[in-house]
């Protein structure tokens, strides 16, 4: 049975939503009483089951959410892992490092430093929860600014960002310098 008007509006809102949507907000948006919203939600939840949709609509703390069918989780896991090696590529690690030291920073700023397009890498890092958007720059186009997350600190075993090694300590050591010198010096005896 096709969805009722109210149920499909709720479904549309849940499709667009990232966070759970409270019934109160639905009442406000649909301009119908709470019990009618409840009915529509019930209809929607039931319809997803009956139609064997790939997602379910669940009531959780704070409201309603559309999420993938629990019995299909193995596919979602595989999907989440596709095309992604199990370790961060050096490109991704460098991008993450730039965000860590320069935050908040825009994609364009990272790209300018790395000299390549970083959209894909930034999306990957964001998906994995290591970085997150924290606002927008004031300049033209108001680019999104990224910063590292608590999850990033946790993974590195750090309490706060200030614990990252200061970058001035990272100038090449004396052995690197003399190695470079050696390569410029003619071999003895030649």
């Amino acid at each position: 049975m096709p969805l009722s008007d109210h149920a499909r509006i709720i479904e549309a809102i849940l499709t667009a939503a990232v966070e759970p949507v409270s019934p109160r907000l639905l009442v406000e948006l649909l301009e119908i009483p709470a019990d009618r919203v409840d009915q529509a939600c019930d209809e929607l939840i039931r319809s997803c089951e009956e139609q064997r949709r790939g997602f379910v609509v669940v009531r959780i703390a704070g409201g309603l959410r559309m999420q993938t069918q629990p019995d299909l989780v193995s596919y979602i896991e595989r999907f989440a892992n596709t095309g992604v090696s199990s370790r961060l590529s050096s490109a991704a690690l460098e991008t993450l490092a730039i965000v860590a030291y320069r935050q908040p920073v825009s994609r364009a700023q990272i790209a300018a430093l790395r000299g390549v397009n970083v959209d894909g890498v930034v999306r990957l890092l964001e998906q994995r929860g290591y970085i997150a958007p924290v606002g927008r720059a004031a300049g033209p186009g108001q680019p999104i600014l990224y910063a590292t997350t608590d999850a990033f600190l946790e993974r590195l075993g750090l309490d706060r960002l200030a614990q990252l090694p200061p970058v001035e300590d990272l100038l090449p050591g004396p052995e690197t310098v003399s190695e470079l010198e050696d390569r410029l010096r003619p071999a003895p005896g030649e």
């Binding site: 499709t15 990232v18 961060l88 730039i98 860590a100 410029l184």
Partner: protein, 260 residues
């Protein structure tokens, strides 16, 4: 500043040239506009300061000349012979095609605007993988510590290395350019005109010759020698010009140290 130009058929002030051309007393075909520009640039260079009014006047005159000349080159409506007329239509056809193409892209832009507006009515799903699943994609940061992040930052922000040329295989000549300079300073004064070939004839390797060449250039740059080359790939004549330095070896006459 009166700009004078010198061309095969005309020599004189620039504004007079324009007058002669517009009154058909001179055939514009015969005047290479490149010469006119060069003459003007020469005047500008020699007069030192930039004379803005002369510059703008020149630009106006030259723009008129260019327009006149291009009109003469493209058959216009005034003098029509059958062939020329046909050619003229070809030019117009090309122009027409371009205008039509532009209008088509303008129309395409309108179509794009409609498509974009329609597409904007739909919001794509963006919630991503349910947080409840906490799919454990392998932790990409496993085994990475803070020091490695710092290293990565340094790598990312290091000035991009210029391509490194490994010089290990090059036998470096014992004589440096600086040494060659002092050698020349010792031998050239009083020697008159010296040809580069005679100066380097005894040398065995190309590298040694190049070192001498760089030394000569360095001395020339510092004004101690003048160089003269009869023709392309001709021999290079070197003359010491430091009259004061002809006999003296005072420190003030010593060429600056070569820093290369």
């Amino acid at each position: 500043m009166v700009v004078t130009v010198c061309t095969p058929v005309y020599e004189g002030p620039l504004d007079a040239l324009l007058h002669l051309v517009t009154t058909h007393q001179l055939e514009l075909y015969d005047i290479p506009l490149g010469d006119v520009v060069e003459a003007f640039l020469g005047e500008m260079a020699s007069s030192g300061a930039v004379d803005l009014s002369a510059l703008s006047e020149f630009l106006v005159v030259l723009a008129v000349l260019v327009e006149l000349k291009s009109r003469r080159l493209l058959p216009g409506p005034d003098e029509v012979e059958t062939d020329e007329e046909l050619e003229g239509w070809e030019v117009r056809d090309v122009l027409l095609a371009r205008l039509l193409e532009c209008q088509a892209y303008g129309a395409a832009g309108d179509v794009f605007a409609v498509l974009a507006e329609r597409a904007a009515a739909s919001v794509p799903r963006s919630a991503g993988i349910d947080p409840t699943i906490v799919v454990d994609p392998p932790d990409l940061l496993e085994g990475v510590d803070a020091a490695q992040v710092a290293q990565a930052y340094r790598r990312a922000t290091a000035p991009r290395p210029a391509p490194v040329i490994d010089l290990a295989h090059v036998t470096v000549d014992t004589l440096t350019v600086a040494e060659a300079v002092s050698e020349l300073v010792a031998t050239l004064p009083g020697a008159g005109r010296v040809s580069f070939r005679s100066l380097t004839g005894h040398l065995a390797t190309r590298l040694e010759v190049i070192v001498r060449f760089l030394a000569v250039l360095e001395l020339c740059k510092q004004g101690h020698v003048t160089l003269d080359q009869g023709c392309t790939f001709g021999d290079l004549e070197i003359s010491w010009t430091d009259h004061a330095g002809a006999g003296g070896t005072g420190a003030d006459e010593t060429p600056d140290e070569y820093e290369g």
